[in-house]
C-alpha cells in the first residue's frame, strides 16, 4: 500500500456480478480523482453479425447476449421488429409474454437477492458460505428461484435461452391444464417472496443517495415490464417522457476521453435504470399486495409519492418486485384462456423499429432496420448496465470519498466498500455488447481532477 493520502486501488476481478469486470480507484492527497468500473468482457460483435440475418432471428440470437436475462433480449427484439412491421399482438399473447417475463424477474431477482447481494449485508463471501449460518434463508431463496425457472421452463422450454418465443408470440401456447400445477408452485412462491421482503427489510442499510435521473418504462395502467413508453424522474422532482423512437436522441452514448467505455447520458445527465427507477416511475401501479409489501419493507407508499434513492436499498425494491412478479404470474395463470393461435403473423415490412422492455436490472432498448425481404440491415442494442455505468461510477466516487474523509479505511476495507456499491446495481457485464474499457489510460495523480460534471471528466 502506498501512503494513504495518495493511492491507486485496483480490484482485478469483481465477484458476484454477472460477467467480468474490474475496478480502479485513484486517490490523490485524500481526494478521489477517479473511480472507474472497467469492463474487460471480450467483444462479441452482436450488432455486426445481426446484419444479414433474417428478421425472424434476433429473438433467438440476441438471447445469447446474456444467459441471466435472455427473455429481456427476446422481448425487446420482438417488440422492435414488430414495431418495424406494424404488427400489434393480441392481448392473450401479451399476457403470456408478461407471464414468461415474470418468470425471469423471479429467477433473476432471487438469484441477485440471495446468491449475489445478501452475503454483503451479512459479511459472507457467497450464498454457500451464507448457508452455514442462514441455511433456511438460502433454501428459501433457491426455492423461489426454482419457481421462476419452473415458469420459464414451462412456457419457454428452458430457463436459459428459452426456445418457445417467436415474432408475433409463441411457437406453442400452453394449455390450461399445463399451467394449473404452476399455480400451486406460485402460491408457495408468494409466501417465500413475502418472507424475503421481511428478511431483507431487517438488514442494515448504509446511508447513500443517488442524484441520477431515474429512467424506466411507463405503462398506462400497470407496472411496466414487457412494454411502455420511456419516462424519467430527475433529482429535482421534474418528470418527463418521450416516445421510444426518440430513445437514441435522448439517451446518447459518448466515448469518454480516457476510455473506450461508451457512457450513456439522458439529455446530457447521468441516469440510472433498474428497480429504483421502476419504483419511482411506476410504483403507484403495483398491485395491492406488492404495495403492501413496499410499505412493510419500509419503502413507503409510492401512491403518496414515495421514491427510493438509496442504492443499498435496491434489494428491498427487488424483493417487492419479486412479490409483484409472483402475484402477477398468478393472476395471469388463473385468468388464462389459450389463444386460438399461439402467434400473430408478422410479414416483413421495410423500415425501422424500436423496442424496449424492463430487464430485471433495467431498461433494455433494441433498434432494427430491415429491408423488404426481411433481412436485418442494422441493429443496435443498449443494455441497462451500459446506461447505468456512469451512475455506478458516480456512486463509487462519492462513497469512497466519504469513507476516506470520515475514517480513511485501509485498502481491503475500501475494496469491499466499492465492490458492494457496484453489486447494489446488479450489473450484468455479459450484456456489455458494446461497451468496453480495455485500455487503461491513467493520470499520474499530480493534479486532483474535477468531478463536478460526473465521472467522465
Amino acid at each position: 500500500m502506498t501512503h494513504r493520502g495518495s493511492r491507486v486501488l485496483h480490484v482485478g476481478s469483481l465477484s458476484r456480478v454477472e460477467g467480468e469486470g474490474a475496478l480502479r480507484l485513484h486517490v490523490h492527497d485524500g481526494t478521489v480523482t477517479e473511480a472507474r468500473l472497467e469492463i474487460y468482457e471480450p467483444p462479441r460483435f452482436f450488432e455486426a453479425f445481426l446484419r444479414g440475418r433474417a428478421y425472424t432471428e434476433p429473438p433467438d440470437i440476441t438471447a445469447r447476449v446474456c444467459g441471466i436475462c435472455p427473455v429481456a433480449y427476446q422481448m425487446s427484439a420482438c417488440a422492435a421488429i414488430e414495431d418495424a412491421c406494424g404488427v400489434t399482438v393480441d392481448p392473450v399473447i401479451r399476457d403470456l409474454r408478461r407471464l414468461l417475463y415474470c418468470g425471469e424477474w423471479i429467477e433473476s431477482h432471487a438469484l441477485h437477492i440471495y446468491l449475489l447481494h445478501a452475503p454483503d449485508f451479512l459479511g459472507r463471501t457467497s450464498a454457500i458460505d451464507l448457508a452455514r449460518t442462514h441455511r433456511a434463508e438460502v433454501e428459501r431463496g433457491l426455492r423461489l428461484k426454482k419457481a421462476g425457472n419452473a415458469l420459464m421452463e414451462l412456457l419457454g422450454g428452458r430457463a436459459v435461452h428459452p426456445v418457445n418465443v417467436r415474432l408475433g408470440g409463441f411457437h406453442r401456447a400452453p394449455t390450461r391444464n399445463e399451467l394449473r400445477p404452476l399455480a400451486e408452485e406460485l402460491k408457495r412462491a408468494l409466501d417465500d417472496a413475502w418472507e424475503t421482503v421481511r428478511w431483507v427489510a431487517g438488514l442494515d442499510f448504509p446511508d447513500a443517495h443517488t442524484d441520477a435521473d431515474l429512467l424506466a418504462l411507463a405503462a398506462p395502467d400497470t407496472y411496466a415490464i414487457e412494454s411502455g413508453t420511456t419516462a424519467f424522474l430527475r433529482a429535482d422532482g421534474t418528470t418527463g417522457s418521450f416516445p421510444l423512437r426518440d430513445f437514441t436522441d435522448r439517451v446518447t452514448e459518448t466515448h469518454v476521453a480516457h476510455s473506450t467505455a461508451l457512457h450513456s447520458r439522458l439529455d446530457g445527465r447521468l441516469h440510472l435504470t433498474g428497480p429504483l427507477a421502476r419504483f419511482a416511475v411506476g410504483g403507484h401501479l403495483l398491485s395491492p399486495v406488492a404495495l403492501q409489501a413496499a410499505v412493510e419493507a419500509g419503502l413507503g407508499d409510492p401512491r403518496e409519492g414515495a421514491v427510493c434513492r438509496n442504492p443499498y436499498r435496491s434489494i428491498l425494491v427487488r424483493a417487492v418486485e419479486t412479490v409483484y412478479a409472483v402475484d402477477e404470474a398468478l393472476r395471469i395463470t388463473e385468468a388464462y384462456e389459450p389463444p386460438a393461435r399461439p402467434y400473430t403473423e408478422v410479414p416483413p415490412v421495410a423500415g425501422v423499429g424500436h423496442g424496449a422492455t424492463e430487464a430485471p436490472r433495467g431498461l433494455l432498448y433494441h433498434r432494427y432496420e430491415i429491408d423488404a425481404d426481411g433481412i436485418v440491415t442494422s441493429a443496435s442494442l443498449v443494455p441497462p448496465t451500459a446506461q447505468n455505468q456512469g451512475a455506478i461510477e458516480d456512486d463509487l466516487r462519492r462513497l469512497a470519498q466519504r469513507a476516506i474523509s470520515e475514517h480513511d479505511p485501509d485498502d481491503a476495507e475500501l475494496t469491499a466498500l466499492c465492490e458492494r456499491a457496484i453489486r447494489n446495481h446488479d450489473p450484468c457485464i455479459s450484456c456489455s455488447t458494446h461497451f468496453l474499457d480495455l485500455t487503461v489510460v491513467r493520470t499520474s495523480g499530480d493534479t486532483p481532477r474535477d468531478f463536478s460534471g460526473g465521472c467522465d471528466a
Binding site: 465477484s15 458476484r16 454477472e18 460477467g19 467480468e20 471480450p42 467483444p43 462479441r44 460483435f45 452482436f46 455486426a48 453479425f49 440475418r53 433474417a54 432471428e57 433467438d60 440470437i61 445469447r64 447476449v65 446474456c66 444467459g67 441471466i68 435472455p70 438469484l111 446468491l115 449475489l116 452475503p119 463471501t125 457467497s126 450464498a127 454457500i128 458460505d129 448457508a131 433454501e139 433457491l142 426455492r143 428461484k145 426454482k146 425457472n149 422450454g157 428452458r158 430457463a159 436459459v160 435461452h161 426456445v163 418457445n164 417467436r166 409463441f170 411457437h171 406453442r172 466515448h255 473506450t260 461508451l262 399461439p342 455479459s430 455488447t433 458494446h434 468496453l436 480495455l438 485500455t439
Partner: protein, 268 residues
Amino acid sequence: MSTPTLAVFKLASCDGCQLTLLDCEDELLALAGKVEIAHFLEATSAVAPGPYDLSLVEGSVTTPGDAERVRSIRAASRHLVTIGACATAGGIQALRNFADVNEYRRTVYAHPEYISTLATSTPVSAHVDVDFELRGCPIDRRQLLEVITAFLAGRKPDIPNHSVCFECKRRGTVCVTVAHGTPCLGPVTHAGCGALCPAYQRGCFGCFGPSGSVNLPALIPLLRNGGASRSDSGKGGGGRRAGGLDEDAVMRFLHTFNAAAFDKELRK
C-alpha cells in the same frame, strides 16, 4: 482424502452455462458439501489458489489475453472440462470467423483501435488439451451434474453422442419435418436438450452442435424441400413444400450457435 476442489472460469460468453450450475437449486447445497468451490467469481468472493481438481471453462477464446489465460487455467487444473457451445465450438461469436473482424470492429465501436480482439473465436480445445467437452447453448443441467459427479467419482461421464432425433422418439414427439415440413436440424444435432424445440412445435436449431455421426449432404436437400420431398415419395407434386429454405436460409440455419462446428462438417 481432502475435499476435491472445483473451479469455474469464463472467457467470451453470456454466463448462461455457469448460471446452469447455480440453477441446480435442489442439488447446489449438497454439491457444495462434496466439493470445495475454490474459484467461481460469479458466485463467490472467496478465491483459493490452484491447482484445482476440476475446472469448468465457459466461453471461447477471442482475445490474445484469453489465449494466454486459458493456458494458465490448464496448467492449474487436474481435469479441465469445457461447458457450452462457446467453449466447445467457438459459440455465436465465431460468426466473425466468416467475416472481416476489422469491419466488425468499425461497425460496433467508434474507436476500433482500442478494441483488442482476435480475428477468430475458437474453442478451448484449439489451445489446450481438454478432458471432456459438454455441449449445448446452454448446457443441460442434468448433463452438467452427470459430468461433475463422474469426475468426482473418477469415471467417464455418461453423455450419449447420438442425435436429437433419438430424444424426439423417446419423448414421443411427432416429427415436425415429416408432419409439417418444418426445417429441423435434429437429425444432425448432438442430443442433450431432451429434444426441446420439436416439443414446442419448432425445428431444432442445432444449439448442441453436430452429433457423432453427421450426414449433412443428406439433410440439406430436406431443408430445401421443407421435409420429405413429394417427388421422392412418388405421391405427386414434386414442388417445394411450405417451410423449405432457400440457399441463404440453409446457410443461416447452420450458421448460428455452433457455426464453426457445422461449417467444419459442411467442408468434409
